[in-house]
């Protein structure tokens, strides 16, 4: 560490002899009977004062430095080692409410630069701050629950306890996200599914009633109705599949992906799966990839679904006999994958809401194309989990571009239960 007081000390040490020399010279000249040399005197005094100032500064800075930057480490090595290996984030606060120690899991939450910082700067959670403020020495430990909603929903339990004997407070976090999500999953699933399944179900049961009633012996009508029922049943199946995969993705959204994935391969296999659909519309899918693209951290199945959904949309809403262009490029520390169609484009005011669940630009058209209204919501959640960004651009009459940017990282993060996403 640079010590500024050393510099001040050097200045002082240089200036003192100089001032003394000047003073001595003035005295000598005066003694030899020459004229009064008031300028020399003044100069000597001035340099002397400067030296005194430098000396004072050195002393002050020295005082600041002399106080240790952090108080002596209160933790024995064994305790430190044990805390360090705990899977749950743990923070020790000193008597002034500043961070004295954070284990590896906690550093994943608050960052590596935590020492001597106040709690509310590190963890901006009023409930914890309040619990810490209210904790008296030796008072019973407090448990508070809190949630964060961005970038995705997480739930924690914080355990706050202040020691009766030593001057510190423990803050221990416990991740409740998985439990809460499972609890909530069922309710959300039923709420979403019941609302969206009602329409196709009503159609199917309506046709069943008709077939039982006056269309019982009408062969042509029977054929037609069975066709419609089959389409509606297929839609319900797709809807349930999409809802299930959305739920699955949401459940794991807070777990960072661990595999290195070759995106070009993922995109090509997703395109291959869509080939029959594209051929039916006579649309060509063209993939251009920069050579030697870096791999990204990802979940291969989810990434395949991501690009399948994007390309499927491009095929569905693209111009018949048109092109779907997929480009992969590495820009800075990001891998950018753009899926471009040449369809009609999306109205400007619909773009920011496309990734909403069950939002449809054109309800009738989406139904015709067999959309569930969940495709882009799934895309958004997958991108979120991969710490990426989805941007959508569209020009009326010319087509739309969906761009996914994924970060390129050198190595997989340590598998901690809590990531930096708090």
């Amino acid at each position: 560490m640079k010590k500024p007081w050393l510099q001040w000390k050097a200045v002082r040490d240089w200036l003192w002899p100089f001032a003394c020399g000047l003073g001595a010279a003035a005295a000598l000249i005066r003694w030899r009977g020459h004229v009064e040399l008031s300028t020399l005197w003044a100069l000597a005094i001035a340099v002397g004062v400067l030296a005194a100032i430098a000396g004072a500064r050195a002393w002050q800075q020295h005082l600041i430095d002399a106080e240790p930057a952090h108080p002596p480490d209160p933790l024995p090595d064994l305790a430190r080692e044990v805390f360090e290996r705990l899977p749950d984030p743990l923070l020790l606060l000193d008597e002034t409410g500043r961070a004295a120690f954070a284990n590896a899991a906690m550093r994943g939450v608050i960052g590596a630069q935590f020492e001597r910082k106040p709690l509310s700067v590190l963890l901006r959670v009023p409930a914890i701050q309040q619990a810490v403020d209210e904790a008296g020495p030796g008072s019973p430990p407090a448990e508070v629950e809190f949630s964060t909603h961005v970038p995705f929903e997480r739930h924690f339990q914080a355990y706050v306890s202040r020691s009766a004997t030593a001057p510190f407070t423990v803050v221990l976090l416990h991740d409740l996200t998985a439990i809460k999500r499972t609890e909530r999953m069922r309710a959300d699933f039923v709420a979403n599914a019941s609302h969206e399944l009602r329409t196709p179900l009503a159609a199917v049961s309506g046709f069943i009633d008709t077939l039982r009633g006056h269309a019982r012996d009408d062969a042509a009508a029977r054929e037609q109705f069975l066709g419609i029922m089959s389409v509606e049943a297929a839609r319900m199946r797709r809807l349930i599949e999409d809802l299930l995969s959305l739920t699955r993705i949401e459940l794991n959204e807070h777990v960072p992906p661990q595999h290195f994935v070759d995106l070009e391969q993922v995109v090509r296999s997703a395109a291959a799966a869509l080939l029959p659909l594209a051929q039916a519309e006579n649309i060509r899918i063209e993939i251009t990839a920069e050579p030697h693209l870096p791999k990204v951290l990802g979940e291969p199945d989810e990434l395949t679904q991501l690009f399948q959904n994007l390309m499927h949309n491009a095929v569905k809403y693209g111009r018949p006999n048109g092109h779907v262009r997929v480009t992969l490029a590495s820009i800075g520390s990001q891998l950018r994958i753009a899926v471009r169609d040449d369809g009609e484009g999306i109205p400007r005011d619909a773009i920011p809401r496309l990734t909403e669940r069950f939002y449809r630009v054109d309800v009738k058209r989406s139904r015709e194309k067999g959309g569930t209204g969940l495709g882009l919501a799934i895309v958004k959640h997958i991108v979120n989990r991969h710490n990426g960004r989805l941007s959508i651009e569209s020009e009326a009459g010319k087509g739309s571009t969906f761009t996914v940017s994924l970060p390129v990282v050198a190595e997989a993060p340590a598998l901690a239960p809590v990531t930096e996403m708090l």
Partner: protein, 237 residues
């Protein structure tokens, strides 16, 4: 924070930063709870938000006192001066966010008495986006990260776009069925409040940028709120 020769000054400045972080944390929770009160139809939570607003007000007064004392007694210069003024400005912006959250919570209580409407989900989603902005800008303040603050400042256009879209949709709802006008008006104000929260986030972002760099962001922020010029003709779908 740079070392100060007078240590008490450094401590006072740090205490000020801590208080701002606390107001920020409270504003975050208030906004999140208000939006959850709407999306989960949780009236108890809404009442809690309304009751907790006083804490933000108290902390704001405290920050005003702290910064005035700092200005009067220590005469901070350069970066320290900007930091003190930034605390003062941020406290009032964050207090406004708290007020808007309180207003959203009040409307949530009314909305929760009415039958559920799908559009509240879109509102909640918009709210989440503003929450993300608020978190990012407060993180930027804690880390003194001007670039991150600038990113928030640039993203506000997205929230304006969502607001435009919701505004149009609500207008068409009301035209289709005048019985929904009461409900939709509340939703309209909720959407506007959320959008205002987003604007306050960009103000905070500007303050953080100025505090770190000592220069202002360019005057023309990307603005995309066009609802003041929007009308939907009667009878259109």
């Amino acid at each position: 924070m740079t070392d100060h020769t007078v240590r008490a000054f450094g401590e006072k400045l740090e205490a000020l930063t801590t208080s701002v972080a606390q107001v920020g944390g409270l504003a975050e929770v208030q906004l999140a709870d208000a939006i959850e009160a709407i999306s989960r139809r949780d009236t108890a939570k809404a009442e809690n938000v309304i009751a907790s607003d006083r804490r933000i007000d108290q902390l704001q007064y405290q920050i005003e006192d702290q910064s005035l004392k700092l200005l009067a007694l220590r005469q901070p210069m350069a970066g320290d001066l900007r930091e003190t003024l930034a605390a003062l400005k941020m406290a009032s912006e964050l207090e406004r966010i708290g007020d808007l959250a309180k207003n959203i919570a009040k409307r949530a209580i009314v909305l929760n008495r009415e039958p559920p409407i799908r559009l509240t989900m879109s509102l909640a989603r918009m709210g989440r986006q503003v929450e993300a902005q608020l978190k990012q800008v407060l993180d930027a303040y804690a880390r003194r990260d001007a670039q991150s603050a600038k990113a928030v400042w640039q993203q506000d256009g997205e929230i304006d776009e969502i607001y435009n879209s919701l505004f149009r949709e609500l207008l068409t709802y009301m035209m289709e069925d005048p019985r929904t006008i009461g409900l939709c008006t509340h939703l309209l104000f909720v959407a506007k409040n959320i959008e205002r929260c987003g604007d306050h986030c960009t103000n905070v972002a500007e303050t953080v940028y100025y505090m770190v760099n000592g220069e202002h962001l360019a005057a023309d922020r990307p603005k995309a709120d066009t609802t003041s010029e929007t009308s939907v003709p009667y009878g259109s779908p």
